[in-house]
Structures are given as structure tokens and as C-alpha cells.
């Protein structure tokens, strides 16, 4: 511990702490602009200057490490004058006229800083040099006139997301924010995660959708969880007058620390789908508007005779975007109560179900939490395209590459994440099992592991033939993994496709061979509640020609072409869906469903965190959520429900330990 004195207060902090952090711990406020809790200190804006006894000049507290006996002052006249001067210079650099900016009234950190210093005006006018406005990006606008050159966006893009799209050209007053080598943002390597927009302290980067829609003081916040994939990022949903304004990450959360991807941040607002707003029943060949009672009676009339019928009976299908409450109730009503021919989810990604089966065989969880991805020196990613799905997990890995972390990606040529890899294992033929066998052989060949009865050299040669992977790449992978201090293996849908239990078992054995303690394994699992669907055993194969009727709880999922085609020849199809699609157009009864923001419920993410998606919007009139609809149906089917979803969820062993939040 280091002892120092700030404004007459004795403060004890850990060695290596900055003066800014030490002051924070002591409850002493020092204003900042370029500093951000999630970023490495940069010392660019000079607003956080303090007086250090013995130092000739003021020092930036954000980059200054504490030393024993340091005497710091944070609010002398000299400092207050310096702060005003620093702000004056920033204001004079470009166009910072608040009256033509939408980021104001508490939303702009530059304006707030000026208010904190009681500035009534700025003593220097800018030089009236106009800068370009880059409006080429589909989700946000970059107005260089509002940029204060703090480089928060650049640091976020590099340090947090590992995308390295943003950078600076020139120096001093000519410094200029650029994407790649100076191309418009919309044509750059930007992956639209929006972290730069969220971290920008001024109006330089603004979100198109929410611009002029409501300032911080006018919106409501709903701390919730993303339901667009199974990472389950914690996010803040901003609404105003029952209107979705914007989605932001929350820097203080434990899973994603404020990061979101395009799918979680921008796409829910950009979605252009037609809402279904009234129940529809097919009469004389066409769908006609009906009341809820009429629509539900039409369903009951068709399905009731199928009670308990296992052949040519009722199939109940559910989206794995639905909450655990909804999925558990579907299981309770239709599986346990109604005894339908089949009750399952429409999840195509089999990661959850394969993992659940292995866990059942082992009798215990075998996967690790996502946190292991945040601190690793060698990561092997198998069959998961983290540049397309589960992107935030990809950010955790990509951002460590600059500090030496090796990323090895095995996948097909469609896998976009393979482009980011330090070592690419692009398999042209063979199976996942072949890949693991070849990697095991490589490990044994390097004498990093022992496997009985394995002639490593021969096995390596033959498996290389089978997979089309170069022996050199396999040996390098084995070398990286076995010499790693914190190795980690991630697997996804590409690895376990075709219900590949054998490959996953082999992977488990392979992971155990790495290093002294084996490498932790992380499975990234399909849709938002895919793991809950697997826990509730809603993962059975569905054949459309074996059933008389289908009840599909689709929620706000957009059905795939395959599902639409599969259901075409089913004699009776009832769908509870939020958006109209070809599938709903073909259906016999359509019930209007609530969307993610209108329905609360729990979700089990890829690493077993049970998290709550909170209700942020009231559903339109005549639209009902899944649980309420199921309860109505259960009542008419005379099925009693307990709704004890939690014990249903925890009834069997899971692939990764289930934890709260």
C-alpha cells in the first residue's frame, strides 16, 4: 500500500494506482474528459490536472501513478484557472456551439465540464474552419466539427472491441479521426458495434435513430438483457412515452462491461417488420380478423381431439428466443398435461442439446464461464463464427491479440472469424472428430501429452490427409496450446453439427491433455434461451409429416424458410407470432404476440447465467405475451399448471453451472 495526501486527506491505495483513481477512492472529485473507467489512461485532455508538491508544473492525475508521501492538491486557484483555460482551448478548436448540437442538457460531457467550472462564456472564438460530416454509416453519424480529439472512440475500438477501425492521422491541431486509411465510415472495416458512439463524450458520434428523440433527462432506463443471442449481454433499454429510443451497454455490468454488437444495439431499432395486431382465423380460405376468444376456440376445437395422441397428433414448437417462463409452461401444458406427440424448440444450433447430453452422461457440468475468454494467451475456436454470431465473445478474444494472445480458429471458409486468426485451420474435408484426432496426434508427437496405443507420427499423417490441414499448422496449434499459461477452447455450432456427440467427447479428452490442468472449455450456444430449451429437453427432432396439427409459439422470431416449408403441408397450423411472414400467411390461426421489449422473463445464457429481460414497453392493445396466452389455452384444455419454471430448469444437470445474474 502507498500512503499519500490529497487535499489534506490521507489516502492509502495499492501501488500502481493513479492519482485520479486514488482521489476517486477518497471521494474527491477531479473532472475528466478523455479518461474513461473502461479504457487505459491517455492523458490527452489535461482537464484532470493537479498540483503535486515538488513538481514544477501541474500534472495530469489520470496518468500519474501514486508515490509514497505524495502531497496532492486538486482545487487551488491555479488548478481552477488551468481547467477553465483547458476547456477554453478545447471549445476554440472546432465548432462547439451548443445551440446547434443535439447532445446537450446534461448529455454532453464537455458542456457539463464547463458548467462544473461555472463558465458563463468562452474567452476565445474558434477559427471558423468547417470540418466534414461523415454520414455514410447506416447507424450513426460522425461530425468531425464536434470532435475534441480525446481518442476515446479510437481506444474503445482498439482496446475493448479489438477491431482497430478507428485511428488518428496528423498531429496537434491537425489531428483528425479516420476510419481505416481515411475511408468513409460506411465503407470501412467498422462492424457497427456502436461502442464508439456510446463512449463519445460530445456530439461527434451520434446515433441516427435516437438523435433528437429524447435527451437523458427525458428518457426512461430499463436495465435488461439482450435476447439476440446466447451471450446474453446486459444492456440498457431507453424508452420515452412507450417508444423505443435507443439501446446502450451499461459500463458497470459484469458480463459484457458495456459492450454490445450490431445485433444487440442497432438492429432491434432498425427492424422493418409488420406487426400482427389482431388475432386472425382462416375462414373460407382466407385469414380474417377475429377476437381472441374466437381464435383460441378455433385452436382448441382442432387440437383437443389430439390429446395424448402420439401418432398423427399435435406438435408444439417454440422459439428459443422465448423466456424460460414461457418455455417451461409450454413443456408443462403440452408435454406433461396434454401429452402432445412432440414438444420441442425450433433451435437449429445443436450446441446446447449436444452439451446437455454430454453433461447428463458425465453427471456434472464440464464447461467454463465466459470470463475465461477475457484473460487468455491462447484461444482455440472450433466451429464458431464469432464475427457473425456471439460477437461480443469474439471482442473478448480479438482485443487481446494486440498484447500477444494467439487466436487459432478452425472452421470452414464461410467462417468470417477465421480472418482474425493468428493461425487458421481451414478444414476442407473430414469431420470435427478428425480435427480433434489430428490435434491430439500433434500434441503427442510434440511429447506434450501421452495417449496409450497412439502412434503419433502415423496418426498425424493420416489425420492430416483426412482433414486437409497442413501438419505444420497442427503442430503449431499443439505447440501454442501446450505452452500457454491460460489456454481456452471455444466450440460452437460448426463443431457439433449433425448432433456430433462423439466429437464433443473427443474434445473433452483433448482439452484435458493440454498443459498441467487442461484447458477450460466454453460452448457458445445458439439463440438467447437455447440452453434453457435444452435443460427443459425441448430439443427433439421434428418431422412435419408425422403430425396432424402444429401449435407454434414463435414470439418475435422471424421463421426460417425451412420451417415455413416444413409446415406447408401440415393440416392445421396455429402460430403465436409478433411479425407477419409467409409462415403466418399460410397458417390457419394467427395470434398476435408481444416482442422482447414487451414481455418480461428469464434467460439462461451460454455460460449458465440466469438473467432477467425486463419489460420496457407496453404491448399494443390486443397483443398478448406468451405466458398469458398459454394460460388461456391451458384453462380451456383443463390442464392445471404450477408455473414452477425454476425447478423445471434445475431438474437436471447442466453443461455449465447455472448461476444467478
Amino acid at each position: 500500500m502507498v500512503k499519500l495526501n490529497i487535499d489534506g486527506k490521507t489516502v492509502k491505495v495499492l501501488e500502481g494506482t493513479t492519482v485520479l483513481k486514488a482521489a476517486e477512492q477518497a471521494g474527491i472529485y477531479i473532472p475528466t474528459l478523455c479518461a474513461h473507467p473502461q479504457l487505459t489512461p491517455y492523458g490527452g485532455c489535461r482537464l484532470c490536472m493537479v498540483e503535486v508538491e515538488g513538481a514544477g508544473t501541474l500534472q495530469p492525475s489520470c496518468t500519474l501513478p501514486v508515490t509514497e508521501g505524495m502531497q496532492i492538491k486538486t482545487n487551488t486557484k491555479k488548478i481552477l484557472d488551468a481547467r477553465k483555460f483547458v476547456l477554453t482551448l478545447i471549445f476554440s478548436e472546432r465548432n462547439h456551439f451548443c445551440m446547434y448540437c443535439q447532445v446537450t442538457d446534461g448529455d454532453c460531457e464537455l458542456q457539463n465540464a464547463a458548467y462544473d467550472e461555472s463558465m458563463t462564456h468562452w474567452p476565445l472564438q474558434p477559427n471558423w474552419q468547417p470540418y466534414e460530416v461523415d454520414a455514410s454509416h447506416k447507424f450513426f453519424v460522425l461530425d468531425h466539427n464536434r470532435c475534441i480529439l480525446c481518442r476515446r472512440c479510437v481506444r474503445a475500438c482498439n482496446e475493448l472491441v479489438g477491431n482497430f477501425t478507428l485511428g488518428f492521422k496528423e498531429r496537434g491541431a491537425n489531428s483528425f479521426l479516420v476510419a481505416d486509411y481515411g475511408v468513409p465510415l460506411g465503407e470501412s472495416t467498422c462492424i457497427s458495434c456502436g461502442t464508439c458512439v456510446q463512449i463519445c463524450p460530445t456530439g461527434a458520434l451520434i446515433d441516427r435513430q435516437s438523435a433528437y428523440q429524447g435527451k437523458e433527462i427525458e428518457v426512461d432506463h430499463h436495465l435488461s438483457v439482450c435476447v439476440d443471442c446466447s451471450i446474453g449481454c446486459q444492456r440498457d433499454v431507453l424508452t420515452r412515452d412507450n417508444r423505443l429510443i435507443r439501446i446502450e451497454g451499461d459500463w458497470d455490468t459484469s458480463l459484457n462491461h458495456g459492450l454490445l454488437c450490431e445485433k444487440g444495439r442497432f438492429e432491434p431499432l432498425a427492424k422493418e417488420c409488420n406487426r400482427i395486431l389482431t388475432p386472425l382465423v382462416r375462414k373460407d380460405g382466407s385469414l380474417k380478423a377475429a377476437t381472441w376468444d374466437e381464435a383460441i376456440s378455433a385452436i382448441i376445437e382442432k387440437i383437443k381431439p389430439l390429446t395424448g395422441k402420439k401418432e398423427k397428433g399435435l406438435a408444439v414448437l417454440a422459439s428459443s428466443r422465448l423466456s424460460t417462463e414461457s418455455l417451461a409452461l409450454i413443456d408443462e401444458v403440452f408435454n406433461q398435461g396434454f401429452e402432445a406427440a412432440i414438444v420441442t424448440s425450433i433451435e437449429e444450433d445443436q450446441t446446447s442439446s449436444v452439451a446437455a447430453e454430454i453433461a447428463k452422461e458425465l453427471g456434472k457440468p464440464f464447461e467454463s464461464k465466459l470470463d475465461v475468454l477475457k484473460d487468455t494467451d491462447v484461444a482455440l475456436v472450433l466451429g464458431a463464427d464469432l464475427a457473425t454470431d456471439h460477437q461480443v465473445a469474439g471482442f473478448f478474444l480479438k482485443r487481446q491479440q494486440a498484447s500477444g494472445t494467439k487466436l487459432i480458429v478452425a472452421g470452414t471458409k464461410e467462417n468470417r472469424f477465421i480472418d482474425k486468426a493468428n493461425l487458421k485451420l481451414q478444414q476442407t474435408k473430414g469431420t470435427s472428430l478428425d480435427l480433434i484426432e489430428s490435434l491430439t496426434a500433434a500434441l503427442v508427437e510434440l511429447r506434450k501429452a501421452k495417449v496409450e496405443d497412439l502412434k503419433a507420427a502415423d496418426a498425424l499423417y493420416s489425420s492430416s490427409e483426412k482433414t486437409g490441414l497442413a501438419i505444420d499448422s497442427l503442430l503449431k496449434t499443439a505447440e501454442y496450446l501446450s505452452s500457454a499459461k491460460k489456454p481456452v477452447i471455444v466450440y460452437g455450432k460448426g463443431f457439433v453439427s449433425n448432433n456430433n456427440k462423439v466429437a464433443l467427447k473427443a474434445l473433452l479428452e483433448f482439452a484435458a491433455l493440454i498443459g498441467k490442468n487442461g484447458a477450460p472449455l466454453v460452448g457458445v450456444k445458439g439463440q438467447a434461451n437455447s440452453m434453457a430449451a435444452a435443460q427443459l429437453m425441448l430439443v427433439k427432432p421434428f418431422k412435419a409429416d408425422s403430425v396432424q396439427a402444429v401449435y407454434l409459439a414463435l414470439g418475435d422470431e422471424i421463421p426460417t424458410k425451412k420451417l415455413t416449408k416444413d409446415l406447408e403441408n401440415v393440416p392445421f397450423v396455429a402460430v403465436h407470432a409478433a411479425y407477419s411472414s409467409q409462415l403466418t400467411a399460410n397458417a390457419d390461426v394467427v395470434l398476435p404476440a408481444a416482442i422482447w421489449a414487451e414481455e418480461e422473463g428469464h434467460y439462461l445464457n451460454s455460460d449458465g447465467r440466469l438473467q432477467k429481460n425486463v419489460k420496457a414497453l407496453e404491448a399494443p392493445e390486443n397483443v398478448l405475451d406468451t405466458v398469458t396466452t398459454l394460460q388461456k389455452i391451458a384453462e380451456l384444455l383443463n390442464v392445471k399448471t404450477k408455473g414452477d419454471w425454476k425447478s423445471q430448469l434445475l431438474a437436471r444437470v447442466s453443461s455449465v453451472e447455472i448461476t444467478q445474474g
Binding site: C98, M99, T104, A114, S118, T120, W128
Partner: protein, 180 residues
């Protein structure tokens, strides 16, 4: 002690700051008991007294040679000069044209406007004042009190005037600051 004399004038602005002054509503009666309200653009007397006033208030920015004359006249005739509103303090909305130049702005306004026919031309009568670069008042004359806001709220204006009326210098901070 005689009531302090207060006069106001407007330059290039939208009159919104004077509207906000009127928004102090019935408090204006209390205020007139404390001050002697002289020339303003919204009263009959239009020019500040030749023998001077205690407080001069200016709304709007300096946008042309005439504004400059008015600002200088007010400065000469008052003891304490108040810059009222974002245009007076910073240059405000009219200052947007500084990024393109007055020439471009005049061309857009008199020639390129959708409702202007092919005869459009920029007025150039020698009687007219000359447009200049848009300036905050403090770029031309010394300002004693800055009251930012677009417009400053009635409460802030009332606070500033009542402080000045009672011989104190207003200090704007916290919630009273609003640059818009």
C-alpha cells in the same frame, strides 16, 4: 438612493431573449420598484439615455456595421454591460454562417432560396449597413456579465436583474447555467 437605470437593446437575434424577459410575468412589477426601466426595444423610448444608465443589456450578436454601432453606443452609455443570451455571449445561431462566410449566406438567402425567381440579387444599397463576420459582443466591446441560454430562462433573467438592481454582481452557476 435613486433607482438604478436599466436600458436594453437588441442586435442580431430573434427577440426571444426579450420574450423570456417578459416571461418573468408579475415579477416585473417588483422589479420596476427596484429599477428605473429606460429605453428598450419593447417600450417607447428606443435609445439609451445620453447621460447614461447603470445597466445596459444587449441581446443578439454583432452581425453587421450597424450592430457594431449600437453595441458601442450602449457600452459608452452604461456602467455594467450584460450580454443576454447565446447570440450575445457566443455569437449564437447567426454565427453558423461564419463557417461558410457572409457571402455564401447572402447568396443562399437572396438568390438560391426556392421561392426566389431568376431575378434574385443581393441588396447592395449604400444606405444599408455592411454584413461582417458574426461576433460575440465581447469581441467588440467589454462585457461585464454573461448570461448564456437560448433564451436564458425567465428565472435566470429575474435573478440577474434583481441582483444588479440591488447593487450585486450576479454569479451564474449550477442549474442556472444553460448554454443550450
Amino acid at each position: 438612493m435613486a433607482k438604478p437605470k436599466v436600458a436594453s437593446d437588441w442586435l442580431s437575434g430573434c427577440a426571444g431573449c426579450h420574450m423570456s424577459l417578459l416571461d418573468i410575468d408579475e415579477r416585473i412589477i417588483a422589479l420596476t420598484e427596484l429599477i428605473d426601466l429606460r429605453a428598450t426595444p419593447i417600450t417607447d423610448l428606443k435609445e439609451p439615455d445620453k447621460d447614461g444608465v447603470d445597466v445596459g443589456i444587449l441581446e443578439g450578436c454583432i452581425n453587421n456595421t450597424y450592430n457594431e454601432e449600437v453595441a458601442k453606443r450602449m457600452r459608452e452609455r452604461c456602467k455594467i454591460l450584460v450580454a443576454l443570451g447565446d447570440c450575445a455571449v457566443f455569437g449564437g445561431v447567426p454565427a453558423m454562417r461564419n463557417f461558410s462566410g457572409a457571402g455564401e449566406a447572402l447568396k443562399r438567402a437572396y438568390i438560391e432560396t426556392e421561392s426566389t425567381d431568376s431575378e434574385g440579387k443581393v441588396p447592395s444599397d449604400p444606405e444599408l449597413c455592411k454584413p461582417t463576420r458574426v461576433k460575440a459582443i465581447s469581441e467588440v466591446v467589454h462585457v461585464d456579465v454573461f448570461v448564456p441560454g437560448c433564451p436564458p430562462s425567465a428565472d435566470v433573467i429575474f435573478y440577474v436583474l434583481s441582483e444588479l438592481a440591488q447593487g450585486r454582481m450576479p454569479e451564474l452557476k449550477g442549474n442556472m447555467l444553460d448554454w443550450h
